[in-house]
C-alpha cells in the first residue's frame, strides 16, 4: 500500500510491521512523531505491544534491555541528548547481546541548543558495539527497520537506524508500506537462544574476571564480522520479496568514475544530483553512499574505491582533535591497498547548515584542482 508519510512515521511503520512487542521511549525533538504514532498504534490495537512511557532515555534503554532479555522484540527511538544520556546502556545492550532496534534522528549536540541535523550524536556511539545503518529516504527507513530486526536477531547484536533531522525525519515522501503477512514471512517471531525464565534460571551479566571478559568480547567482535555478509543476504532476500535491495552501500556510477563523493544520509542523495551535473560537464563523477557504517563495509569500500583516482569524503560531523569520521575510516580502510586513491576530507552541514548542490560543486572543484590532499579538513561554508 502506497502512502505519503514522513520519515519519522516510516520508523513507526517499520516497528509496527516488525511486530515490536515492547516499546519504551522518551520524547525529544525531532523524534516525537515516531513515538506518538506508535502510541496511537498501541492504543487502537494496530500494534499489539506494551508502550512504557518512561521518564528518561536512560530508563528507556534500560527497560528495552529488560524486555529483550525476557524474550520480547523491542524498539525505541531517540536523538542527540537522549542518545548521549543512553550511552551507558548502549554499551550494555551490545555486551549483553540484546538485539534491540532503535531509530536515532541525527541532531547536533548541545551546547548551544540545536534541533538541526548533524552526525556527531550517532558517530559518538560507534564504539559501543551497535550495528549502524544510515538512511537517505523514507522508503529506505521503513525497509531497513525490518531488515535490522532480522540481522540483529540472527547475531544477537543491537541495531541503530539513523535519519537526518528534518531533512529526513520530517520530509514527506511516497512510501510503499508492505503487507503484514509478507513481512511476517520475511521476519519470523523473536526466538532468542537464552532468556529470563524461571524454567531455566541463569544469572546474566555477573562479575566477570579478566579470565573471561576478553573471550566474551572476542565473541561479540566475531559476530559483528558476520554482519556485512548477513546484510547482503537479508538485503537480497528483501529484494526478492519486496522488490527493493538493501545492501551495505549504494554505489552510483562508480564503475568508470575518476572522481567519487563518499557520502551518507540525505547528503548522499543530493550528491547524486551533483554527480549528474558533473557528468553533463564531462567529468566522470560517481557517488558512494555508505549505508552500513558499523560494522564498516571494508570489502565494498575497498573494491569500489581502489579503481578511483580521486575520492572526496563528506562528513557532517567531526572528531575534535582529529578529522571527519567517515574520512578517517575510509582512509584507514584504503591504507595498505595496492592501489590507493587520493582522498580528500570535507566537513559541511554541522548543526543543520544546508548541504546543497553548490556544496558539492565546491567540493568537486577543490578536489579536481589538486593533485594531493594538502589539508586533512576542508571546511565547506564556514564564514572564516
Amino acid at each position: 500500500m502506497k502512502k505519503v508519510i514522513m520519515g519519522n512515521h516510516a520508523l513507526s511503520y517499520g516497528a509496527m510491521l516488525s511486530r515490536a512487542q515492547v516499546i519504551a521511549a522518551y520524547p525529544i525533538t525531532p523524534q516525537t512523531q515516531v513515538v506518538e504514532l506508535l502510541s496511537e498504534m498501541c492504543a487502537d490495537g494496530t500494534l499489539n505491544a506494551k508502550f512504557i512511557k518512561v521518564e528518561s532515555e536512560h530508563s528507556a534503554m534500560a527497560a528495552c534491555l529488560g524486555a529483550s532479555l525476557a524474550g520480547a522484540r523491542t524498539f525505541t527511538a531517540t536523538s542527540a541528548q537522549g542518545l548521549a544520556l543512553m550511552h551507558e546502556m548502549l554499551h550494555w545492550a551490545a555486551g549483553g547481546r540484546m538485539p534491540v532496534v532503535m531509530g536515532n534522528i541525527n541532531r547536533a549536540l548541545a551546547p548551544g541548543w540545536s534541533i538541526w541535523t548533524d552526525q556527531n550524536d550517532s558517530l559518538s556511539e560507534r564504539d559501543t558495539g551497535w550495528i549502524q545503518f544510515y538512511c537517505s529516504s523514507n522508503q529506505e527507513v521503513l525497509d531497513t527497520v525490518i531488515q535490522a530486526f532480522k540481522v540483529s536477531e540472527k547475531v544477537m547484536i543491537p541495531s541503530m537506524i539513523v535519519l537526518d533531522a528534518f531533512a529526513l525525519s520530517h520530509t514527506y515522501e511516497v512510501v510503499d508500506i508492505p503487507a503484514q503477512d509478507k513481512v511476517d514471512a520475511y521476519l519470523p517471531p523473536f526466538n532468542p537462544p537464552f532468556r529470563l525464565t524461571p524454567d531455566d534460571p541463569h544469572a546474566f551479566g555477573g562479575l566477570t574476571s579478566p579470565d573471561h571478559y576478553m573471550e566474551l568480547r572476542y565473541k561479540l567482535q566475531k559476530d559483528m564480522e558476520k554482519v556485512p555478509l548477513l546484510v547482503e543476504e537479508t538485503g537480497r532476500e528483501y529484494e526478492k520479496m519486496f522488490g527493493r535491495y538493501l545492501g551495505q552501500v549504494d554505489a552510483y556510477l562508480c564503475e568508470d568514475a575518476e572522481f567519487v563523493f563518499v557520502t551518507s544520509g540525505t547528503a548522499g542523495y543530493t550528491a547524486r544530483v551533483a554527480v549528474d551535473e558533473l557528468r553533463e560537464k564531462g567529468i566522470k563523477a560517481g557517488n558512494l553512499r555508505i549505508k552500513l557504517f558499523r560494522p564498516f563495509p571494508f570489502e565494498k569500500v575497498r573494491s569500489i574505491l581502489s579503481r578511483v583516482p580521486k575520492v572526496a569524503v563528506l562528513d557532517r560531523n567531526i572528531s575534535y582533535g582529529h578529522h571527519g569520521i567517515f574520512y578517517q575510516e575510509v582512509k584507514s580502510a584504503m591504507f595498505g591497498e595496492p592501489v590507493q586513491p587520493t582522498i580528500f576530507g570535507f566537513i559541511a552541514g554541522l548543526g543543520g547548515r544546508d548541504i546543497t548542490r553548490d556544496s558539492f560543486k565546491e567540493i568537486a572543484e577543490y578536489a579536481l584542482s589538486k593533485d594531493k590532499a594538502e589539508e586533512e579538513i576542508v571546511w565547506i561554508g564556514v564564514k572564516k
Binding site: V22, G66, E88, P201, L207
Partner: protein
C-alpha cells in the same frame, strides 16, 4: 522430652538461595534475600543493580540463586524490572513475579528517578530496597540512607553525617502505590508474610528491609539479628504497612521503646558520639516514631 517434639518451622522450608555465596560473615543482606525468596517462591525473576548482591551472587559463570537474575546497571533496578515485566507478559508469562532488588544507594540516590518513574506508572513490580545504610559494596561511603551521626569513609568522625536519613517511605507513599511495607531480618515471619502479601497484589509494591552490615556498621557479625531487632524495638526502624496510599498499619508496637543508646553502642560507626549527640539522636527517633504512630492511628 525433646525426642518427642517436632521441628515446626514458622517460615517455608524451601531454599532458593544456596550456600557458597560471597557475603561477609553475618551479612544482613544475604539473610534478607533468603527470606524474601521464601515469601515469593521460585516463579520469580530478580533485577539486581550494582550493590553488594551483584557480588554476593557469585562470579560468572556461577550463581547462588535458583531463580533467573538480570544483573543490571546501577541506576536501573526499577526501569529494568519494568521492562522485564512488560517483556514477560508479551511472551505469554503473566505469572512470574518481577522483583527489583537494590541497595540503599541504588534506591535512595542514583536509582530514585527510575523508581519514581515506575511507581508513577504503577508498573507491576515488587521493588525491594535492602538497606545497609551506606555504599557498602564500594567500601562504606555515605548514602542519603546513612543515619544521623554515623561514621562512613566519606563522613569521617570529624565530619560525621549531620543530615537526616532520607524518608524514602514518605517519598514512595506520595506516589500512591498499592502496597508499601518496612521489614527487618530479625522478624522473619513478618517479613515472609509481607513478601507473600505483596506477591498477590498488582501494581508497584515497595518493601524497605533493614539489613545490618557488620563490616560497615563496625559491629560483631553475631550481633546482626540483635541489631535488626533493636532497630525496631527502639522505634528507629518501625515495622508498618501502607495500603493503597491511605491505610497505615503499625505491625509492632513495643510497650516501651528501648533507648537508642542500646542500639548505637553495639556499632563502631557511632562510637565517636558524645552524650549530648546521642540525646539529639534520641529526640529525632522519638519525633519520627510519633509521626508514624499518628499516621497509623
Amino acid at each position: 522430652m525433646t525426642k518427642e517434639r517436632k521441628m515446626t518451622l514458622t517460615i517455608p522450608q524451601e531454599e532458593l538461595m544456596s550456600p557458597g555465596h560471597l557475603a561477609c560473615q553475618g551479612c544482613g543482606a544475604s539473610l534478607a534475600m533468603r527470606l524474601a525468596l521464601k515469601g515469593l517462591g521460585q516463579r520469580t525473576v530478580v533485577c539486581i543493580p550494582a550493590c553488594c548482591w551483584a557480588v554476593i551472587d557469585g562470579p560468572f559463570p556461577h550463581s547462588s540463586l535458583d531463580i533467573p537474575i538480570y544483573h543490571c546497571a546501577f541506576e536501573t533496578a526499577a526501569s529494568s524490572a519494568s521492562g522485564v515485566k512488560a517483556g514477560l507478559e508479551m511472551v505469554g508469562d503473566t505469572e512470574t513475579t518481577v522483583l527489583a532488588w537494590a541497595g540503599d544507594g541504588g534506591t535512595f540516590d542514583i536509582g530514585l528517578q527510575a523508581l519514581s518513574g515506575a511507581a508513577e506508572r504503577n508498573d507491576d513490580i515488587i521493588y525491594t530496597c535492602y538497606d545497609n545504610e551506606a555504599y557498602m559494596n564500594t567500601g562504606i561511603q555515605r548514602s542519603s540512607a546513612t543515619p544521623l551521626g554515623a561514621w562512613t569513609t566519606t563522613t569521617p568522625v570529624k565530619h560525621y553525617k549531620k543530615e537526616r536519613k532520607k524518608d524514602i517511605i514518605g517519598i514512595i507513599a506520595a506516589h500512591g502505590i498499592p502496597y508499601i511495607a518496612t521489614a527487618s531480618v530479625a522478624y522473619p515471619e513478618d517479613m515472609v508474610k509481607k513478601f507473600k502479601k505483596a506477591k498477590a497484589i498488582k501494581g508497584t509494591r515497595f518493601i524497605h528491609v533493614l539489613a545490618p552490615c557488620p563490616a560497615g556498621w563496625k559491629s560483631r557479625p553475631e550481633d546482626t539479628i540483635k541489631l535488626a531487632r533493636l532497630a525496631v524495638q527502639t522505634g528507629y526502624f518501625p515495622l508498618y504497612e501502607i495500603e493503597d496510599g491511605e491505610k497505615w498499619t503499625l505491625n509492632l508496637k513495643p510497650k516501651e521503646r528501648k533507648p537508642i543508646a542500646e542500639y548505637l553502642k553495639l556499632q563502631g560507626r557511632f562510637r565517636h558520639l558524645k552524650e549530648e549527640e546521642i540525646a539529639w539522636i534520641q529526640k529525632e527517633v522519638d519525633s519520627n516514631w510519633e509521626r508514624i504512630l499518628k499516621k497509623c492511628a
